[in-house]
């Protein structure tokens, strides 16, 4: 896959505060790259620098092998942006808004393109409605039409599902997956929803305090947490279970008198089950929780250790 966005040693300082600290990464053609991190980690600032609406203190950005700072217009012609935090002109209709953007991007046959996209997003019936009269889900879809109007090769998405209900979010994610496969779109994606990131991102960059502290596939990141959780439901005296777990030095917490949660290395999970059942404890239910991206996120943000 070709690299279509390359970021080298990007730094942004606001006075004494360093929002983005010497980060470098690449986005490949057809790839969905997640940009994760706690609030204030520098995700949105990075996106804004990549869009040219916040200036960088230092560093280099290249889109399609062109220096972004020297070729701003050529680069922006081929990319677009979608965010739940931005809206279009509220007083004018969906069609009028989209015609303005079609003209800004010099789209040939703008009305045809707009109708096609509105059809795709099942929004055609709202074409003459004022933008402010749309629901938040409908607005998000119109924002996406705007983001696709110039047939971009890269879309930067800043928490596009924030403030959407789960059903609309799910549809949006399906759509992003469709677009990636049908149009070979590359997407830089920020979100606070770890399940969402795990589902659609090929690779994830983890930012904290402006620095990249981890970069891997979502699965690769979760594998960095060596512990899994085992939840046993049993029909026996709690003290009996407590005794066997203590003797074998397991880390455990009782959720109730008949449910215990054991945190252990993945390879020790069968041993824990074996030891408990061998102590004449009748296990009625077993559940194993493998680490998720959210666990990784929590581990990083709570321990603030470099992974």
């Amino acid at each position: 896959m070709d690299t279509i966005l390359s970021v080298s040693n990007l730094t942004k300082r606001f006075g004494d505060f360093t929002a983005v600290d010497n980060i470098s990464f690449e986005l490949k053609e057809g790839e969905i790259l997640g940009l994760l991190g706690p609030n204030g980690a520098g995700k949105t600032t990075t996106i804004h620098i990549l869009l040219g609406i916040t200036s960088a203190t230092s560093g280099k950005i290249s889109y399609f092998d062109m220096d972004f700072f020297k070729n701003r217009q050529e680069s922006l012609q081929r990319i677009n942006f979608a965010s739940s935090f931005n809206t279009l002109q509220g007083k004018i209709t969906v069609l009028e808004n989209l015609l303005v953007f079609a003209r800004l991007y010099d789209v040939k046959n703008p009305k045809k393109r707009i109708h096609e996209l509105l059809e795709f997003f099942e929004m055609r019936e709202f074409i003459n409605k004022k933008y402010w009269d749309l629901s938040s889900g409908q607005r998000t879809r119109v924002n996406l039409v705007k983001a696709l109007i110039n047939s971009p090769e890269i879309i930067l998405m800043d928490e596009p599902t924030a403030a959407l209900d789960p059903d609309i979010s799910d549809k949006l994610l399906n759509l992003i997956e469709d677009l990636r496969s049908s149009q070979k779109l590359s997407i830089l994606y920020t979100s606070h929803d770890m399940a969402e990131v795990t589902r659609i991102c090929d690779r994830v960059i983890f930012l904290d305090k402006g620095k990249i502290i981890a970069e891997d596939t979502p699965l690769g990141l979760t594998k960095r947490i060596p512990y899994a959780k085992l939840q046993l439901t049993f029909d026996a005296d709690r003290k009996q279970v407590e005794k066997v777990l203590s003797e074998n030095k397991f880390n455990y917490t009782f959720i109730s008198n008949s449910v215990v949660q054991i945190t252990a290395k993945e390879n020790l999970i069968p041993t824990a089950i074996f030891k408990v059942s061998n102590a004449d404890v009748w296990i009625t239910d077993i559940e194993v929780y493998k680490p998720t991206l959210e666990d990784f996120f929590l581990q990083i943000t709570r321990s603030e250790k470099k992974v």
Partner: protein, 263 residues
Amino acid sequence: MRLYRILAILTEEFYITKRSFEVMMDLFFFAFVTVITFGFTTLYFLRESNQAFAYHLFLGLLLWEIIRVAQYTLSVGVLWEVWSRNLTNIFISPMSAKEYIAAEMFSGALKSLVVFITISLIALMFFGFNVYQVGLINIVLFFINLILFSWFTGIIILGLIFRYGTRIQALAWGFVFLFQPLTAAFFPVKILPKVLQNIAYFFPPTYVFEAARASFSNPGIIEWNLIGSAFLENIAYLVFSLLFFNVMFKKSKETGQFVKNEG
């Protein structure tokens, strides 16, 4: 600079103007009410006192509307983007700040022209006041100079909005009125105290209003000296405002204010 991007912003301006009751009020309603009020005031003064004095008041008002409407258009245009949280969408397109300003300048001039023609016809039809008696060349020269000045004030405010956000948005409506007394819009410059007279000549509209009063009293006369002085000052002011905007725009991106403008 690409014409299609300038046209895109003009198209958006047209849609907003067409659909916004507020813009229609600010542009046409206020202009209409003001011309009616000043029309009756002029009629009253004509009956009670000196004719030239009364006409100068009305003349000043009609010409002042050119400045007000163009400056308002230039400054408030960006506020519509900020209020709608659409500013980022506009500026992450390939459009440059230069193209955006060019579009707003043209839009301001066009709206000013429409409002000026409308109110001057109202003045003629309802109050028998013919501003065109100063001569068409004079009207064109006055219009160009007043538009240049309104661009200067509009671009300065635009720069301040980018730099400081909606905190200073009231300037978009109010700032230009600072120049109403200072440029002697409704009375001869000699009425001002000596210190203010000296200050008045630092502002191009002062020359325009003086020239307008002179040519209204002596139809056909073109006060080239006054017009020339206004034009030279306007060019200097316009260059300054563009440089100022450039610094403010750059600073807005450096400090992060640009994105903060949308909350």
